[in-house]
Symmetry: C2
Subunit: 294 residues, 2 copies
């Protein structure tokens, strides 16, 4: 199956999943659920869900279960986009090609919709429909909480907020991005391994792949911000430079950054060697992550 | 032990727990951890932790484990206060007798500190130090996610935001408060029962207590907002009336509201009858919840 077809299938599964999880209640909470649906359904590349499902496929994890783990990480991703777009944070008006949630609804509703998706991620994982073994559920939850909290994504976003004030070097930008986007991408692979009962010592290759992919993905993001088109990106571009933030592109220049992304993709693919042909989809994701223009 | 002494002991345990969980890292995330510590350490009545620990004591749950569950619910409570105080929400300047987090730090840091405490709650519960049985951990997490998400606390806050626009009757205000504050209070009792291995059919009394206590607690809150003193409350008062919101006090008048709180406290205590003298602390909490002036 081509990556495009696989992404389409995963996207449709995620949309169906959110639709089922978020029926609009007939009371004043309706607006909250409508906001969650606006942000969660029908947009984005669904790259994190794709990574969860492709890794689960490597280990023959049941597709329905894999999809629940994929929904959980997308809940966290979408909540982080909602909060990062807030006026007090990055103050963005456009996301996934439509007005950001606080523009389409109110800022207060956006804060609450983010919080609600955050809680929903853990509610999904704690449910036995995700896995019958509570050890597996608890491990998925422990890892997701770490990857998304102050030692992971939220900590990376804090570093990003400081990046306009502090002069960051390449090591610091790398660390920032490993927390801000890398930790959650790492969870996607880890989740597949946890559900597939791969012991920690068997996860080294997947972790290497995730680390290299995460950085390649971020360099591509910086390149889109540097030279991309707003219509294609579906979000405001040129904002890092405007904010005076150091990025891979500002530190390396666009050509070296592009070359570095290519090296990282080759490395990521190298890590998948033990998995043979079964890992073709993960290889395709790595190539896409660096080459994409949106 | 008197309630005052018990609250003091629990408060000290919570402060120690947060101090150990939140060491300030030597990198740009320091500000985030400082913000989390500012909001979480050294303030509040610690009523929810007290409820967890008093319920755990009923069932002889190990104190260190009880304290971890208590820390988790306090993480959720503190995150909700941080986000509810934001300019786009209730826009409050004073909380627990000091400037709200977004006043003491920046609004962006406040959003992230709330998100980080939210994730930390689930990280604490998923760790095997909280309970060796992963079934217990998964049940604690599933219930906390439900109690704090759109079907619980966040949904109640959404109803509260709409309350200035929609005319709510007594049934609607009761429902709003059962979600906004009742669900999390209910979790505290449920957590003790889960960790104490009480089967669901044995939890009816505890659930009845939590329901009545939650409403009595909220009526007392409305009375403090109506007639309390800002210095004692440690937060702005008179804000419901200013916002044109219906509350128990606006709908019943202060005298009937006070009487209703007393009835609820008596009912809450009645639910504890099967537990005999062992439940004395929970009885004291119920009396305190309604009589407090802060």
């Amino acid at each position: 199956m081509s990556l495009r077809a696989a992404l389409g299938e995963v996207g449709a599964g995620i949309d169906r999943g959110f639709d089922a999880l978020l029926p609009v209640p007939p009371d004043p909470r309706a607006r909250l659920y409508e906001a969650m649906r606006y942000a969660a359904i029908g947009g984005g590349k669904r790259l994190r869900p794709m990574l969860v499902i492709a890794t689960c496929d490597l280990f023959k994890v049941d597709r329905e279960r894999a999809l629940r783990a994929a929904l959980a990480v997308e809940c966290i991703h979408v909540y982080s986009l909602i909060h990062d777009d807030l006026p007090s944070m990055d103050d963005d008006d456009l996301r996934r090609g439509k007005p950001t949630l606080h523009r389409a609804f109110e800022e207060s509703t956006a804060v609450l919709a983010g919080d609600s998706l955050h809680a929903l991620a853990f509610e999904i994982l704690a449910d036995e429909a995700t896995h019958e073994d509570p050890f597996v559920r608890a491990e998925l939850i422990a890892e997701l909480a770490r990857a998304s909290g102050p030692a992971g994504m939220a900590g990376g976003q804090m570093m990003d907020l400081m990046a306009g004030e502090i002069e960051l070097d390449l090591a610091a930008v790398t660390r920032l991005q490993q927390l801000k986007t890398g930790a959650l991408i790492g969870w996607c692979l880890e989740a597949g391994a946890i559900m597939g009962r791969v012991p920690p010592e068997g996860r080294t290759g997947l972790r290497g792949y995730a680390r290299d992919l995460g950085l390649a993905f971020q360099i591509a993001d910086d390149l889109i911000d540097h030279e991309g088109a707003e219509e294609k990106a579906g979000k405001r571009v040129g904002k890092d430079q405007a904010a005076g933030k150091q990025t891979f592109v500002s530190l390396l220049g666009p050509e070296r950054a592009r070359r570095q992304a290519d090296i990282l993709v080759a490395q990521a693919i190298e890590h998948l060697q033990p998995f043979g042909d079964e890992a073709e989809l993960l290889r395709a994701v790595a190539r896409f992550a660096a080459e994409r223009d949106h």
